[in-house]
């Protein structure tokens, strides 16, 4: 390629590069910088606040802060339950769609994708009201069958949020898995059937291994999202602040430290820690799930 053309090509990416520096690199650098300081009241607080360099103290504090560690653990444990359930349901639905004519599959696919079209905040509002003992239909239905459900009780809050996330995410994950399934050569299935394999066997030994890539991917995206969960617990907190406290998830703690406690330095350190946890979690997830294939 001619030299001048190379630079013209690079020029097309300049607006993005400038924006990336301003909106990504500088903020990240700034967060790391801020995380090394601590605001200190001098004297009796009369002299105003001064910033003091404290090195990695904020990180040390974060790594021993039981509220932060508990919130990470809470979210990780929850992810270990909700994500496999959601992906399993999505996989079964994708296999079901695959067994239909493409026309019928298209219709069901649209119906199943409807929740995905709904903004996350609205989805949470709808389910919170469905769960609500005042206006929601689920409590009377539960009473009818002799359950006295309280969806906002401490032991029920995660299952309630889990159902909301599953409802919201099934369609998206199903579409991705279904697309991967459609890419598998049909001859493989026919060959297996000629050899006498049952439908279940075909699904388990041929179809599912072929969509492993899609499952790893949707799994990883879900893990990344889950570690940053904020909207749903924030809305639950609006109706049941006793159960969902302000340190329920890592991002909620970070938000509170920054805006309610006014401790930006500590909040910055926690967000860097969360980024590291996110990187490690994605790496582990990727390694674990791709090792199985070897």
């Amino acid at each position: 390629m001619i030299r001048s053309q190379r630079w013209k090509g690079a020029a097309f990416t300049v607006p993005f590069q400038l924006g990336f520096v301003f909106l990504y690199l500088i903020p990240i650098g700034y967060a790391v910088y801020q995380s090394l300081f601590l605001e200190q009241q001098s004297g009796l607080g009369l002299g105003g606040a001064t910033e003091k360099f404290v090195g990695l103290d904020n990180y040390q504090h974060g790594l021993t802060d039981s509220a932060f560690l508990n919130s990470v653990l809470r979210v990780v444990l929850f992810a270990c339950v909700q994500i496999p359930v959601m992906l399993a349901v999505s996989l079964v639905l994708a296999l079901c769609l695959d067994a239909l004519t493409s026309r019928a599959a298209g219709r069901f696919r649209i119906l199943l994708l409807i929740p995905y079209m709904i903004p996350g905040v609205v989805a949470a509002i709808v389910w919170i009201n469905l769960y609500s003992p005042d206006v929601g239909p689920l409590t009377p239905i539960g009473d009818l069958f002799g359950f006295s459900w309280n969806f906002f009780a401490p032991s029920m809050v995660w299952p309630s949020i889990g159902n909301l996330l599953t409802w919201h995410g099934i369609g998206y994950n199903m579409v991705i898995i279904y697309a991967a399934l459609q890419g598998v050569p049909r001859e493989l299935f026919e060959a297996a059937r000629l050899d006498g394999a049952s439908e279940l066997r075909v699904a388990l030994s041929i179809k599912i291994p072929h969509v492993r890539g899609a499952l790893v991917l949707t799994g990883m995206l879900s893990v990344i999202q889950m570690l940053q969960i904020f909207n749903e617990p924030a809305l639950f907190r609006n109706v049941t602040p006793q159960t969902v406290d302000d340190s329920f998830t890592p991002i909620m703690i970070i938000y509170n430290q920054a805006f309610n406690a006014g401790n930006y330095h500590y909040a910055a350190a926690l967000s860097v820690l969360l980024a590291l946890i996110l990187g490690i979690a994605s790496f582990l997830f990727y390694r674990l799930t791709s090792k199985e294939a070897d």
Binding site: Q5, R6, G9, A10, F12, T13, P15, F16, F20, L23, Y24, P27, I28, Y30, Q34, V92, L93, C96, D98, A99, L100, T101, S102, L111, L112, I114, M117, P119, G120, V121, V122, I125, V126, N129, L130, D134, V135, Y172, I176, A179, Q182, F189, E199, A214, L217, L221, I224, A234, L235, V239, P250, I251, I254, Y255, Y264, A267, A268, S271, V272, G279
Partner: protein, 307 residues
């Protein structure tokens, strides 16, 4: 289903999308029992998907007594117009303001972001230049950066330069969207042949002219997908507007509705009826857009996952 048959449709469809459609169902479908099992499963799943939406529609047609005292499963009286009237007049019509804000941020922000992304994707896909690998690594690497890590320092920087609590605080971050860049690159690779660019250059066209009059025109499908996904992302945004917008006149629909749900515990004002009607309304623009542009966003969603 896909009725659009313009020729560009075939040239622009990215290669990763499965093009082969089944003309006949898989063998599992041929066994009667299997077929029935599959259908029942799908119908149950569809009912689960649709039930909350159905309930929301029913709830939006009820007045407050109906909402609290009648069964949530069926209609009782038609009060949708009263609810809408209340929604649009409550607090001097602040809901309309929020709607306009959401359209402004999602519309203008995504349009700017799409243009930048198309230029960047084209630059990355069709030119060799030093640092290209670094730019692409930034794009992919940024998928892993938590929102909190970006938003908090951005809030501090914006407050330094006086942008907090102005529409700019929402619009500027929308301009840079790494995922849009990634999509634009994939679309360029599948729809803009090198030979065409060479031919245009031989004819003496400048690079800018090639981009604006050839590349952009051939990228309408890709561009529409990028725009649509960015629009949805901004419309759904929550953490960024919650952080950078303080005064309610700049809020988005999401932040407004979130605030209304908290009113009951905070000050005893029960706005459930308004929240539900407002929630239903805030789905409408997305539903209309997504239905109209169904083929765009499905390829976009699938592509996004195959990265």
């Amino acid at each position: 289903m896909l009725t659009d048959t313009r020729s560009e449709d075939t040239t622009e469809r990215p290669p990763t999308r499965p093009v082969r459609r089944l003309t006949h169902p898989d063998r599992a479908a041929r066994g009667r029992g299997g077929q029935r099992f599959v259908l029942v499963g799908l119908i149950l799943a569809s009912a689960y998907s649709l039930f909350p939406v159905y309930w929301l529609i029913v709830a939006a047609t009820k007045d407050r007594t109906g909402l609290y005292q009648t069964s949530g499963l069926w209609f009782s009286g038609m009060h949708l117009w009263d609810n809408l009237h209340q929604l649009f007049t409550y607090n001097d019509g602040i809901f309309l303001r929020w709607t306009a804000n959401s359209f402004l941020y999602a519309g203008v922000g995504s349009l700017g972001g799409t243009l930048i992304a198309l230029a960047t994707g084209y630059g990355l896909a069709r030119f060799e230049f030093p640092g290209r690998g670094v730019v692409f690594a930034c794009v992919v690497g940024s998928f892993l950066i938590p929102i909190a890590l970006l938003t908090l320092p951005l809030y501090l920087l914006f407050s330094e330069i006086g942008l907090v609590d102005t529409p700019w605080a929402m619009l500027i971050p929308c301009l840079i969207n790494p995922f849009s860049v990634y999509l634009a690159k994939v679309y360029t690779e599948s729809s803009i042949p090198f030979e065409l660019l060479e031919a245009a250059r031989l004819d003496g066209a400048g690079e800018l002219r090639i981009f604006f009059s050839i590349v952009l025109r051939m990228m309408t499908t890709g561009g529409a997908t990028v725009f649509l996904l960015a629009f949805v992302q901004t419309w759904n945004a929550f953490f960024l507007p919650l952080t950078v917008l303080r005064g309610e006149e700049n809020w988005t629909l999401n932040i407004g509705l979130y605030n209304w749900t908290g009113k009951r515990l905070e000050s005893g004002v029960d706005l459930t009826s308004l929240v539900l009607t407002g929630a239903l309304l805030s789905i409408v623009p997305l539903a209309v857009m997504m239905t109209a542009l169904r083929r765009y966003w499905r390829t976009g969603v699938t592509l996004g996952a195959l990265k």
